[in-house]
Symmetry: C2
Subunit: 167 residues, 2 copies
């Protein structure tokens, strides 16, 4: 058994020991909001945004980008499970800001026929605004959903608001 | 300002106060692994799998499914940031097991021309196996990556291994 797998299983056994009333929680998020953020290992959204189990949906991908799959998740989040506010949170020192799509294609030896849109970006604040606008313009996202943009600072743990600007 | 936004900001200020040496963490996950799991509010992967900030990538979407976007994230995770083991973790009482694609299309009044693949499933263990096989067959995923399948039990907090079966 891999060392990592062993560690995960032991940690899980410890966690389950004190599970108590958490087993009674329902699927719909108690605080009716969702966070979309990056998969980055330094980010712990439950800790940096003060979530307990049951409070909010957390969606994560490379970059915290509003991909088609993030839209699928957010639509399910509001329509089937009642969230009313969404946080889009990118972060400083993100891998997707350091690489270009062409650069990542090259890492995988992908030729021009097999290019992938890795959703890289050059300007962090702009990427947050683009992602928010993508949601606001989406035909299945109602105007009633409040959408907030933030950048998490990996050096300080602080969230910084990104005002919505159309670039 | 919304009540939720205020709560998130206050929680974040508290978190950042004791940030200490976490600001020195690098992007590459210390424990070289990634977890793909569901956005469900009841799941806290850092808690149920024993992660500290910096340890592992966490990717989350509706269902914890191996969508194209989850593949994008996992490929970046291994190729650019060095993960070697991946956990695919679905859970009991998942919304995607209770609904069908047609049922969710209906919630959104989508006609047959605008159907969306919501990645619903009927059989939880089967869905984990299908997702693992999708990764194992992917041309850009090397055989060297270890992939583990689990189901998280929302009633107990326990992870249950899903042996890889081809259905």
């Amino acid at each position: 058994m891999s060392k990592i797998l062993k560690e995960v299983i032991i940690s899980n056994e410890e966690y389950a020991k004190d599970f108590n009333t958490k087993g009674e929680l329902q699927a719909a998020p108690i605080k009716k909001f969702a966070i979309l953020t990056c998969m980055d290992a330094r980010l712990d959204p439950a800790k940096f945004a003060g979530l307990s189990e049951g409070d909010a949906h957390v969606i994560r991908n490379a970059g915290g980008r509003v991909s088609d799959d993030a839209i699928r998740s957010l639509l399910i989040s509001y329509k089937l499970l009642g969230t009313k506010e969404w946080f889009i949170i990118h972060h400083t020192d993100c891998g997707l800001e350091k690489f270009s799509n062409a650069g990542i294609d090259k890492e995988f030896n992908l030729d021009s026929k097999n290019k992938i849109d890795w959703l890289t970006f050059n300007d962090n604040e702009k990427s947050v605004c683009e992602d928010i606008l993508k949601l606001k313009k989406h035909p299945l996202v109602p105007d009633s959903i409040k959408i907030f943009g933030y950048i998490y600072d990996c050096k300080t743990g602080k969230l910084k608001n990104v005002p919505l600007v159309i670039f």
